[in-house]
């Protein structure tokens, strides 16, 4: 039994749940597993127990791989022995010569081929994506790359990630409109839940926006900076909560956030910004020709680094944390499990720091890029 999870409470819960596996035999369970556990505890390198740990290992590995990817259903937990999935289905929306809309329960957790209006679809186990198949659901894989060669229809499904984004968006909207309303109700002083966020809003304004963009221009970027800060922060924190939602560790999400920063930077940029890219003032003319392509490349590298930084930090955090949690089930001994519990506990705390830090860095760097786009050089020489 493997359960997706991160937060402390859930770690403790997981620990309690796995107690029966370690300490006592459950007669209703498959007896072979219990025997294996006993054998594993008794003799470390017994040849009989050899098959089972690799199974747990691969299960953990598969689970982590599934967790960090997007999914078409929202699953809290699953019981491998009984095959019961705890969670709920999400709607599947596919554009394939007209919208094909059906529930993800048709896939039966990726086991079955879903049929809609005479088209057959199947979720590929490796990447969790929907491919168009024949009635039998055969997915042919490319010999060289290992990627399926089947046609991929445009998948506009409300996946777990989209669902989480919606949830975060609604939560943000509720929290911040209530904060906005509380000012009018309470004579200009925040009250209620939004009050916690008021200092953070002020921090984003006073420590991120104003120093990087400047008093003159910062106002027009405030909405974007505040939204992106809280969006990333909320989703980072979501990722640390039970049920393991990995949104900001998804490349598509960080790509879309970075491309927005890229677009805003370049569409609001003044001629100084472009001047510094194509015809760098204050350097010899030959150098200007050399610098232009480098600077132009920098325009694209900046958002690219934003995208990779957030993605890699959260993605790696999830993988490491889940691997250490998975170790508890692989060790299945009091010493090893306790150790990995302690380690995952410490890492969870570190991940909370990372959640705030990455939100801060993303916002900070966005503000920095906006600042460079609207910067006015009154004293050229002082800068170079």
């Amino acid at each position: 039994m493997v359960i997706s999870n991160k937060a402390l409470r859930f770690i403790i819960a997981t620990f309690v749940i796995c107690l029966p596996f370690i300490s006592m035999a459950n007669p209703e369970k498959d007896t072979t597993i219990v025997q294996t556990v006993v054998a594993h505890e008794g003799a470390e390198a017994s040849h009989e127990a050899h098959a089972e740990p690799t199974d747990v290992k691969s299960k953990v590995k598969a689970f982590i791989k599934h967790h960090v990817l997007d999914s078409h259903e929202f699953s809290f937990a699953q019981d491998d022995e009984t095959g019961v999935h705890y969670g709920f289905s999400l709607p599947i929306i596919i554009w394939d010569n007209g919208f094909q809309i059906f529930s993800s329960s048709k896939f039966e957790h990726g086991e079955a081929v879903a049929e809609s209006n005479g088209n057959f679809y199947k979720i590929n186990h490796h990447d969790g994506k929907i491919y168009k198949t024949d009635a039998a659901g055969t997915i042919t894989e490319d010999e060289k790359t290992g990627f399926p060669t089947n046609v991929r229809p445009l998948d506009l499904s409300i996946t777990k990630t989209v669902f989480s984004i919606l949830l975060a968006a609604i939560l943000m909207f509720v929290v911040f409109t209530s904060l906005a309303k509380s000012y009018a109700k309470n004579n200009g002083i925040a009250s209620g839940i939004g009050r916690i966020f008021e200092p953070i809003v002020l921090y984003v304004r006073d420590e991120i926006a104003i120093p990087n963009i400047g008093e003159k221009h910062y106002k027009k970027y405030m909405s974007y900076l505040l939204t992106i800060f809280f969006f990333v922060l909320f989703l980072n924190i979501f990722g640390l909560m039970p049920f393991g939602i990995n949104v900001t560790g998804n490349l598509t999400i960080t790509f879309s956030l970075a491309i927005l920063t890229f677009l805003i930077t370049n569409f609001t940029a003044n001629k100084n910004y472009w001047g510094h890219i194509f015809w760098m003032p204050g350097v010899p003319k030959v150098m200007r020709l050399v610098l232009a392509p480098i600077e132009l490349l920098g325009v694209f590298i900046k958002p690219f680094s934003l995208m990779i930084r957030l993605y890699a930090n959260i993605f790696a955090g999830h993988i490491v944390l889940m691997s250490i949690i998975g170790l508890m089930f692989i060790f299945k001994s009091w010493l090893g499990s306790s150790l990995s519990f302690g380690l995952s506990f410490a890492l969870s705390i570190l991940e909370i720091l990372v959640a705030f830090l990455q939100a801060y860095i993303f916002t900070m760097l966005s503000a920095l890029y906006f600042g460079s786009a609207v910067e006015e050089h009154h004293h050229e020489e002082a800068h170079h």
Partner: protein, 166 residues
């Protein structure tokens, strides 16, 4: 790299951009603008309140200084008035004194003059009386001389005694 590119999901991108841009627009209208406005208003209010408190303090100080000055002036004025009054009083007393003295002196002088004149008048009268008396005595003596020598002497003695008695 190919694995990373393969992770890109167009549908998810579509939803993410849609939701995120929608969220920015909604939050801008319903949350960020009112929040930042309220915070700005509050900060302005605090700034103004501090400024007006400072002004009030300065005004108070000025007022106090004014009061002090006015009080000082009043005190000075009172002092000068008192001084003047005292001087006036002294002067009046002095004047009265000298006048009284002069008056007294005058009266004394008059009295003295009157006494002198009275004395002179009395002396003149006395002289007149004495002369008349002497004349009458001399007359009587002369009369008696003619009759009796003894009688004349007695008479002179008698007359002299009379004069003494007189």
């Amino acid at each position: 790299m190919e694995k990373l590119i393969n992770q890109f999901e167009l549908g998810l991108f579509f939803w993410q951009v849609l939701i995120f841009v929608g969220l920015i627009i909604l939050l801008k209208k319903f949350a960020w603008k009112p929040i930042l406005d309220a915070v700005n208003d509050r900060e302005e209010g605090i700034k103004n309140a501090l400024l007006s408190a400072e002004n009030a303090r300065k005004e108070m100080q000025n007022l106090q200084a004014d009061n002090q000055r006015i009080l000082q002036e009043a005190r000075l004025e009172r002092d000068t008035m008192l001084k003047e009054a005292r001087e006036m009083k002294d002067k009046m007393v002095d004047d009265a004194k000298t006048e009284a003295q002069a008056q007294g002196q005058k009266m004394i002088d008059q009295a003295k003059a009157a006494i002198e004149s009275e004395k002179n008048a009395a002396m003149a009268e006395l002289k007149l009386h004495v002369s008349t008396l002497s004349l009458s005595i001399a007359e009587k003596i002369l009369k008696d001389e003619l009759s009796n020598k003894e009688a004349q002497t007695k008479l002179v003695e008698k007359l002299l005694g009379d004069v003494k008695l007189n």
